[in-house]
């Protein structure tokens, strides 16, 4: 008797819980304005896009852009820092509203994510160890071991499997020997610094990440040098969760904000500040 009573209580309780919370039809933009906070995900592994500064606070181009976007939305900003794979996987379940993390809108990611207009573009760049004298052109990388961050467009490019809308990708006509993937760019830069050919012969990442590593001396003197010209330029956008209903108004609003930030030169100013060059495309 007693048991049956408790099961009954449980069932009715669950029913109440389910029917009570069913409010539908609110758009993501309204939810953000209602909460007065936009939750932004960023991967704090990438200087100078997003990193921990000397005080241990988040800083970088993406962080500044996110703060500016929140300001123009009239809400507060809250940063969430999950692993990169978790961001690109989509299905965020309202844990964060938008990713402002230099993401390329590839055809594949569009299955899970919605993208805004690009807010800047990034050149992809090969680099080798300073001590190396035999590799002079990109074609010399044939058969060499190349380090790259996992789940990035750069990895896709090396696998000749990269699709970005409105961007023409020209693949290299040589084949790398082995592609070694790392959790994040900082790892393969460190591994290349161990010595020429110690673990890697070359690395492939964004030019600004390399420039920042060389500038900051990546440990002791950063024995890394760039090789050849950038192989392609990728547009980078904010991303939203496609599985979350009623997201389109937020995409439109973010696009409007991006346009205003482009028009009044805010984006260019931030690019000059963090990248020491203008990476902002014409919208």
């Amino acid at each position: 008797m007693k048991k049956r009573f408790w099961i009954g209580v449980l069932v009715t309780g669950l029913l109440f819980a389910f029917t009570g919370t069913g409010i539908a039809g609110k758009s993501v933009l309204e939810e953000i304005l209602g909460a007065n906070t936009i939750k932004v995900s960023t991967d704090a592994n990438y200087a100078p896009q997003s990193f921990l500064n000397d005080k241990g606070e988040l800083e970088g181009f993406d962080i500044s852009v996110a703060k500016e976007v929140a300001k123009r939305l009239g809400v507060k900003v809250k940063f969430i820092t999950p692993d990169w794979d978790l961001i690109t996987a989509g299905k965020w379940g309202k844990r964060w509203d938008v990713s402002i993390g230099s993401m390329t809108p590839t055809a594949e990611r569009k299955n899970a994510l919605l993208f805004t207009l690009p807010y800047y573009s990034s050149p992809a760049q090969f680099a080798i160890h300073k001590a190396n004298t035999t590799i002079k052109t990109l074609a010399d990388l044939t058969g060499k071991t190349i380090g790259v961050a996992t789940e990035t467009t750069n990895e896709r490019y090396l696998q000749k499997n990269l699709e970005i809308e409105d961007v023409k990708i020209v693949y290299q006509d040589w084949k790398p020997g082995k592609i070694k993937t790392y959790p994040t760019d900082a790892n393969h830069i460190e591994d290349l610094s161990l010595g020429d050919g110690a673990r890697l012969d070359a690395i492939f990442t964004s030019r600004q990440t390399l420039a920042e590593a060389i500038r900051s001396g990546c440990g002791k003197g950063c024995p890394v040098k760039m090789l050849g010209d950038p192989t392609y330029y990728e547009p980078l956008s904010f991303a939203l969760d496609k599985s979350r209903p009623n997201s389109q108004t937020l995409v439109d609003k973010l696009n409007k904000i991006l346009k205003s930030m482009y028009d009044d030169g805010t984006l260019v100013k931030l690019s000059e500040k963090f990248y020491h060059t203008n990476l902002i495309p014409k919208l």
Binding site: F51, L52, T81, P82, D83, G93, A186
Partner: protein, 292 residues
Amino acid sequence: MENTTTDQQTPIILSRIPPEAEATLHGIEVKKTRYRRNLIIAFAVLITLMVATLIIIGLDFKFMIKWVPFILTGIGYTLLVSFLAISLACFLSVAGALGRLSLNPVLNSIATSYVSLVRGTPLLVQVYMWYIALPQIGKSLEDLGITGVQALFTLPAIPAGILALGVCYGAYMTETVRAGIQSIKIGQIEAAKALGMTNSQAMRRIIFPQAVRVIIPPVSNEFIAMIKDSSLVSLMGVWELSFRAIKIGRRHFQSLEMLIMVAMIYWVMCFILQLVQEKIETHMARGDRGTS
């Protein structure tokens, strides 16, 4: 020849211990002090070697000291996650052990499959399951017409981490608790029943208090392991010890320094826990005749 006077004053007491035995006792005492001295020397040499290695590999100590306060701030999350998870695990393990020993086929099968499934899958995979897969279950339930489940199933990083760790360690500890309960002789429960106790009374008053003593060392073991595995929640963006150390290490390309530092912090924490474990053990053993 000073001894002769004392010998003459207390000849009766001394004569109770034969001189041969006294010599042996003295020999044992000397061996003990020598052993203790050698142990201290061995530890000192080990520590010197460790410090020497750290200096030889050229660590940037200034950099390490500069970031100590920032990384230590993460200790709160590490402890919060570990303590809540171990509490959950303790609860689950007792329930699981009772289930494993239960004669009820439903309870028994639930407990057995829980242990088998959770113990047989990697913790890393489970952490991802709680964090990524659970909201998807919520969504499909929502699509079936049960509203409001998705928000319920979309756990923030810290609760997801606590659940993942707690459920996983609960499965391991289920077996520990079961072994503890089974280590108590059958005579104990028979005696309890002879006194008119019900099954649950016997379990609560007789078996459990004795079993707890047995399982303290392995449970402390699990807790120490948990402190370290709590670093897995850094994947989901919780700013605990290892998250902070890894991010700073990558930012400045000095991962070695940061990793060594965070390893030291974990070590100190676990060392303290080890001392606590010893205290609890002596406390629990206070009713015993001394064996050491």
